[in-house]
């Protein structure tokens, strides 16, 4: 099972874990974008979730409370974004970028004095004999509960958007806010709800980075994961299953990169560091060129809704 000094089973098992933060954030952002709002502040919401989750978990000694704290912090950041874009009708792109910069700064301030501490352990879910199956066991059945939660959320969100009335209304609002408004749906309220959900998801994803992935607190710990999440939503054509594939792909690349380094390969680490931003630029170009529509973007994505009556 070893290829070029890399163990395939370990690689697959780690890539599933590595993809959780991106997957959570991307799922949340996908719901936000489906409702017609483009929130570029995913990175900021994630890192706020990371620092808050870390502080809460260390203080209480309970990782579950840590994840809830992370979700709350992400939602609070999203609430700020919702206030700016839905109530004060500010530009979404600028507000989102500001949110990220604000989050990076604030998290750094909040995290002072929390460096070098180990958070309480988030244990694996005991799946008994399943975990002992060769190959499949380590890959699929020996992870912590957040991994399984994120996979359940993929299914839940897919089902919500596809089969429920609330999901249909959410898609309709993103498709044409004017028409939705004419039919009597509360466009801003629905969008605000989606934005808060997206924030909570990003916050949880961030908390996963500081509580499980790393696990400790350092400045800028999310290192571009939010930007990758944003890009995945677009490349996944706003479809949950493809978001999962995208998250695994990017998770795989980051794990592989570490493994390659360990195996003595010489790909400079800077390429990976800059990749989220290059991809984000590509994504923004795609959305604003009108090509996004053909890829399945919601028609009113990024447009400010201004009720005419």
């Amino acid at each position: 099972m070893d290829i070029g000094g890399i163990n395939l089973v370990t690689l697959l098992a780690t890539l599933i874990v590595a993809s959780v933060p991106i997957l959570m954030a991307a799922l949340g952002e996908m719901v936000v974008e489906k409702s017609g709002t483009l929130n570029l502040g995913v990175e900021g919401m994630m890192i706020m979730g990371a620092v808050t989750g870390f502080v809460v978990a260390v203080t209480t000694g309970n990782p579950v409370l840590g994840f809830l704290g992370g979700a709350a912090a992400g939602a609070a950041m999203a609430g700020l974004f919702a206030l700016l874009t839905q109530v004060l009708l500010a530009n979404q792109v600028a507000s989102g970028l500001a949110l990220t910069l604000f989050g990076l700064g604030l998290s750094s301030l909040m995290g002072q004095g929390w460096n070098g501490i180990r958070p309480p352990l988030t244990g694996d879910v005991p799946l008994g004999p399943l975990a002992d199956i060769p190959v499949l066991g380590p890959i699929l059945f020996s992870h912590d509960w957040m991994v399984y939660l994120s996979l359940i959320l993929v299914v839940a969100i897919w089902w919500f958007l596809r089969a429920t009335r609330a999901g249909l209304i959410l898609r309709a609002v993103g498709e044409s806010h004017e028409a939705a408004h004419a039919l009597g749906y509360k466009v801003r309220r629905i969008r605000t709800g989606a934005i808060l959900f997206g924030g909570a998801m990003a916050g949880m994803g961030g908390a996963y980075v500081s509580l499980v992935r790393v696990p400790q607190w350092t400045d800028g710990i999310t290192s571009g994961a939010g930007w990758i999440a944003l890009a995945i939503v677009v490349f996944a054509s706003w479809k949950p299953w493809r978001v999962l594939m995208g998250a695994w792909l990017f998770g795989g690349i980051s794990v592989l990169q570490l493994n390659l380094q360990a195996a003595g390969s010489r790909i400079p680490v800077e390429y990976l560091t800059m990749s989220p931003y290059i991809i984000t630029i590509l994504v923004l170009v795609l959305i604003s060129s009108g090509r996004g529509r053909a890829m399945g973007a919601p028609a009113d994505l990024g447009k400010t809704f201004h009720a005419s009556h």
């Binding site: 009335r165 249909l168 209304i169 898609r171 309709a172 498709e175 044409s176 004017e178 028409a179 939705a180 004419a182 039919l183 009597g184 749906y185 009108g290 529509r293 053909a294 399945g296 919601p298 028609a299 009556h309």
Partner: protein
């Protein structure tokens, strides 16, 4: 008319917006099964009135009584529960969703999708409006899209159906089908509130009419007993004079398009297919068509925003198919697109700046890269004076002008540039009758002065009034142009694509 005899009574309804009273003490009443017309010019307050009945707008004062009970809907859902349904002027549909999903969004408690699909099929067959529930709405024709809206209303068994300008997007044949459906509904006891400014339609369809002018009820009448001209004068409050035209001899061909095909740059747009036309000096070519059959794309292809092969388009014999808008302006072609705010004019720039944007080249307003503001202001002033644009001055943002005044400005800007070829899309869309008459006269005057003019419009009456020859766009194809003299409405309807292949089920009735 009291008690059970009246379905809806409206009394003293008033709604004011900052700076304008949209409705003032409006009142009328409606019996079950009655087809009632609301007649008035753009801005007369028809839309505000029905939005109040549908719960989208809350009145400042006045009251409504529906089926003997006080009726004050605070939102559309309340109105829908009370049995009021509305078909919108600008469709309230979602392009990327299916027919069934669109219908479900307009219902209070939709059944599961499978049942809904079956009911859509049944109801649409019953009323002669066949529809496939699984199709994506963005791919439907304008007539079919309207069916989606109507079926959405009918599935809720409305007592009152409000229709806001339903026929502006239909071919004459499709209008016939719609009228049959509406008559069937009315025979079943559904009251219909029908908004339009098309007088002949109202005379054929409606039992009563309430005429609004500047937010007030100015008359009520039985439309069958009046002539269209009498109705128009009630509506406008003045005597109308049709535009005068002199029969001018036509000169050489100024604009020639041969075999022009281009994909649409607009999502869910219509590609242009093998367009052929030629316009002579002094000639007005009218191009009709149901909305979304390639009008916007044709304008883009003519004005240079959409390029084609060099030889596909010639201005005065010069091949310019691969040239952009500036080169075409130099060659003598000016154009006014349909969308005033954002396409014809930059909303937040002043009239002076907007005059510069399109006039810079032909009026030589820029010298050595510097703008000659004195000259620009003079040009803007000329337009304002010649076209009677009501504005406090030239330094006002385009957005601040009313629709009619801005339209006069953008049309005037193009007509004032002394060019040989003029292309205008929807010259009088959303413009009141007096301003419309003025714009049409100005177009005819330019033609009399030797310009070749292409007018794209969805208003058939307008085209028949000003055009010398007539063609229609249907799914991106242009019918061969024919002289207007001697054309019948039936023939025009067929040129526009008949009922778009959707003949049906009314034969049984």
């Amino acid at each position: 008319m009291t008690g059970s005899d009246t379905l809806l009574r409206v009394e003293g309804l008033t709604k004011a917006y900052p700076g304008v009273v949209a409705n003032s003490e409006v009142g009328f009443s409606l019996r079950p099964g009655e087809v009632h017309a609301l007649l008035g010019e753009n801005g007369a307050g028809k839309s505000t009135l029905v939005k109040m009945i549908y719960g989208l707008v809350t009145p400042d004062s006045g009251r409504m009584v529906l089926s003997g009970q006080d009726f004050a809907p605070d939102r559309p859902a309340t109105a829908r529960r009370a049995g009021v349904a509305m078909v919108f002027q600008h469709f309230s549909l979602f392009d990327a969703l299916t027919v069934a999903e669109n219908v479900a969004l307009g219902m209070e408690a939709p059944p599961p999708m499978r049942d809904l699909a079956r009911r859509i099929r049944e109801t649409s067959a019953t009323y002669g409006l066949p529809l496939d529930p699984a199709r994506i709405v963005g791919d439907l024709s304008a007539g079919e899209r309207q069916r989606v809206e109507i079926i959405r209303c009918l599935l809720q068994d409305p007592k009152l159906l409000i229709m806001d300008e339903p026929t502006s997007v239909l071919t004459p044949q499709e209008v016939d089908i719609l009228f049959k459906t509406l008559r069937k509904l009315s025979a079943e006891g559904t009251a219909i509130l029908y908004i339009s400014h098309k007088l002949e339609e109202i005379r054929t369809l409606c039992d009563h009419a309430t005429i609004l002018r500047r937010g007030k009820v100015v008359a009520t009448c039985v439309p069958r007993d009046r002539t269209a001209r009498e109705l128009a004068e009630l509506m406008v409050g003045a005597v109308l004079t049709p535009p005068a035209r002199a029969a001018t001899p036509k000169g050489e061909v100024m604009l020639e398009v041969t075999g022009l095909s281009a994909p649409s740059p607009i999502p869910f747009g219509t590609a242009l297919k093998d367009i052929r036309l030629s316009v002579r000096k002094g000639e007005v070519l009218g191009i009709a068509g149901v909305a979304g059959n390639g009008q916007d794309e044709l304008l883009l292809a003519l004005n240079g925003e959409l390029r084609s092969a060099p030889d596909a388009l010639r201005i005065g014999g010069q091949p310019v198919g691969d040239k952009g808008p500036e080169a075409r302006r130099l060659a003598g072609l000016v154009s006014a697109p349909e969308e005033r705010l954002g396409h014809a004019a930059a909303p937040d720039m002043t009239l002076t700046e907007n005059a510069l944007l399109s006039g810079a080249i032909r009026q030589k307003l820029v010298r050595h890269g510097f703008i000659d503001w004195t000259k620009v202001r003079a040009f803007a002033n000329t337009i304002i004076r010649d076209f009677d644009v009501r504005t406090p001055g030239t330094e006002v943002a385009a957005r601040a002008l009313s629709g009619g005044n801005l339209q006069k400005f953008v049309v005037g800007r193009e007509l004032s540039q002394g060019s040989e070829v003029i292309v205008i899309n929807q010259p009088t869309w959303g413009v009141d009758a007096a301003a419309s008459a003025f714009i049409r006269q100005a177009i005819l005057d330019r033609a009399a002065g030797g310009a070749a003019v292409v007018v794209i419009s969805q208003d058939l009456d307008e085209l028949l009034e000003i055009a010398d020859s007539f063609a229609a766009l249907n799914e991106g194809r242009l019918s061969p142009p024919r002289p207007v003299a001697g054309l019948t409405v039936e023939e025009i309807g067929l040129m526009m694509g008949g009922a778009h292949g959707m003949e049906v089920a009314h034969d049984a009735a």
